[in-house]
């Protein structure tokens, strides 16, 4: 169990983490989601006592990190796979960590085996590929057989096989009753792995909800209809008691999964349809809507400064529609 209470971190003027309060519970995978610069890594560094909070508190099983005796036996973390001395072999890297926490050397061989690095155990870490480095970081996290695991964007830069491996590993760890706390900036990734979701934006808590609830609330299905006889179709739908959620000059959007009904109604009234397609709003869109207010680095579509006016007009149009 990891508990954050009013956790805040300021770097000079910049508030990286702003008054975060939530708990990460055992037995499930908790996804920690936020766009770039949201403060995920900073929060995780504070959990490990690497960065000092400006205000607030974070506890692991009720204790501060530096009060844990042999902390690697409580909580294993992968923050940055590159946080390794490249001149040291994988084996010696893990051995020095094990010795610092009174973990027997035979455990080093075990975790090397778990992550599949036994064959390159004596090789220097600087020769490792991105995926191998990530595996070494995970081996270090597993070293003390901890009840709590924390991974910062573990699938970053991995190939599909590596991603699959990490997903299964996290699920297996949670199934053993461990606490798994994993960050990502991809909703689609979280939807596949996480049971619980904590979303932050600009350091602030935006959502703390179960994955199932988040999906139920946000997976909107609707039907997209395109017709040159817009007014006629609107009347027909209105008479049939079907509400139209959104409409442009040629396009209508109807909530729910009513494509068959709409098609039949259009045929009855001899209305021409150019498109009739069921749509599913993705979780990714829901996540983007949730964090839209707090995205730190907006892409400005590469518009040159001279077109600023045009861009504003375009934005206004979009808001009205």
């Amino acid at each position: 169990m990891i508990e954050l209470e009013g956790l805040t971190k300021r770097y000079g003027e910049k508030v990286a983490v702003n008054n975060l309060t939530f708990a990460v519970r055992p037995g499930i995978i908790t996804g920690f989601l936020g766009p770039n610069g949201a403060g995920k890594s900073t929060t995780m560094r504070m959990v490990l006592g690497l960065d000092r909070p400006t205000a607030g508190d974070v506890r692991i099983d009720g204790k501060h990190y530096d009060e844990l005796k042999d902390p690697l036996k409580y909580i294993g973390a992968l923050l940055d796979a590159k946080a390794v001395h490249g001149g040291r072999s994988a084996y010696h890297h893990l051995l020095c960590l094990a010795q610092a926490n009174g973990i027997p050397a035979k455990r080093v061989h075990e975790v090397l085996d778990v992550v599949g690095l036994t064959a390159v155990a004596k090789k220097k870490a600087k020769g490792f590929s991105l995926g191998m480095g990530q595996r070494l970081g995970i081996a270090a996290a597993l070293l003390g057989d901890p009840r709590i695991l924390m991974f910062d964007e573990p699938v970053n830069g991995l190939d599909p096989e590596g991603i699959h491996w990490i997903r299964n590993l996290m699920k297996a760890l949670a199934a053993q009753g461990r606490t798994v706390f994993v960050s990502s900036h991809l909703m689609s990734e979280m939807a596949l792995t996480a049971d619980h979701l904590v979303v932050i934006g600009q350091g602030r808590l935006l959502a703390d909800t179960s994955m199932a609830d988040f999906i139920a609330q946000n997976s909107r299905s609707y039907v997209r209809v395109r017709t040159p006889q817009r007014e006629q179709l609107l009347d027909v739908l209105h008479e049939a008691g079907i509400t139209v959620a959104g409409s442009g000059s040629e396009v209508l959007e109807v909530e729910g999964d009513k494509s068959e009904r709409i098609g039949e109604l259009a045929a009855q009234h001899r209305i021409v349809l150019h498109e009739l397609s069921p749509q599913q709003a993705s979780l990714e869109e829901a996540f983007m809507r949730l964090t839209a207010e707090s995205v730190e680095y907006h892409a400005h579509g590469g518009q040159p400064a001279g077109q600023q006016g045009a861009q504003q007009e375009w934005g206004a149009e979009w808001r009205r529609g």
Binding site: R45, L48, G49, L50, D51, R52, Y65, D66, L68, K69, D70, P71, L72, A77, L79, D80, K82, A83, V84, H85, G86, G87, R88, S89, H92, L95, C96, L97, Q99, A100, N101, G102, A140
Partner: protein, 256 residues
């Protein structure tokens, strides 16, 4: 118990990187070889020396002439042991394993210091005996007054130089910055300050000049240094303590 774990861990760290081997071997080879060379040159020059120079000729100190260059390798050793944690990012992994920052830093420094002491002592004795062999009939022997202290002190000097570098590296947290300051300081600035009359009085309180007094057996004629061999080493120890405290405070205060 916990401290014993940190020491074991740091010993594994220090013996598993190549930089330990090459910096320390370089310190040994350069100190001994340069000492032998200068000793051999001094012997052939002795007959051309003035009477005053002959009076203050110090065969023991002459065999330690290589220290001026060999200490640079010791500085690199001390800097890399500490600052490589930062340059590689390993510091975060290390502090996650040992969150007691004082235990982490002093465990690391204890291991590196012990290693530097063993290598420094061996180098000092080897430099003395091989240097004396080059000096022929001018040679001093270990039983002469003050000689054993000087040879022993040579080992301590090398160790303290490494410790000072560790403290500075812990304060600056970057190998390039630390080396960029320490190397010119010990190789150039200190000797320039010592050579100019106006600054000499300040210069001799610098760590290397005060510390190297311990390696002298025959003081130069007209020497007015206000401290003796052990006093000089004491001044160097104060510098080392200050650097280590500085390094500890920085590590304790700052985010990793």
């Amino acid at each position: 118990m916990a401290m014993a774990q940190v020491v074991r861990s740091e010993w594994t760290k220090i013996r598993s990187v190549a930089s330990t081997v090459w910096t320390l071997s370089l310190a040994v080879v350069v100190t001994i070889a340069l000492g032998m060379l200068i000793s051999a040159l001094s012997k052939s020059e002795y007959d051309n020396m003035s009477a005053q120079d002959r009076l203050s000729f110090d065969p023991t100190f002459t065999s330690f002439a290589g220290t001026s260059l060999g200490q640079l390798a010791m500085i690199v050793f001390g800097v890399l042991v500490v600052a490589n944690e930062y340059s590689t990012g390993m510091i975060r992994t290390s502090l996650a394993a040992v969150p007691q920052r004082g235990a982490f830093l002093f465990g690391k420094i204890a291991v590196a210091t012990l290693l530097a002491l063993v290598v420094g002592m061996a180098t000092s004795f080897a430099a003395f005996f091989l240097g004396q062999a080059m000096l022929g009939d001018l040679k001093a022997s270990l039983g002469d007054p003050g000689v054993l202290r000087a040879v022993f002190g040579g080992g301590l000097y090398m160790t303290l130089i490494a410790m000072f570098s560790m403290g500075v590296a812990a304060m600056l947290r970057s190998p390039m910055l630390s080396l960029g300051i320490l190397m010119p300081f010990f190789f150039l600035i200190s000797s320039i300050l010592g050579a100019v009359d106006a600054t000499q009085k300040v210069g001799r309180f610098l760590p290397d000049q005060a510390g190297s007094k311990i390696m002298q057996v025959v003081p130069p004629v007209g020497d007015d240094t206000p401290y003796g061999p052990w006093g000089g080493l004491g001044i160097m120890v104060l510098w080392v303590v200050a650097a280590l405290i500085g390094g500890y405070v920085v590590l304790k205060r700052r985010d990793a």
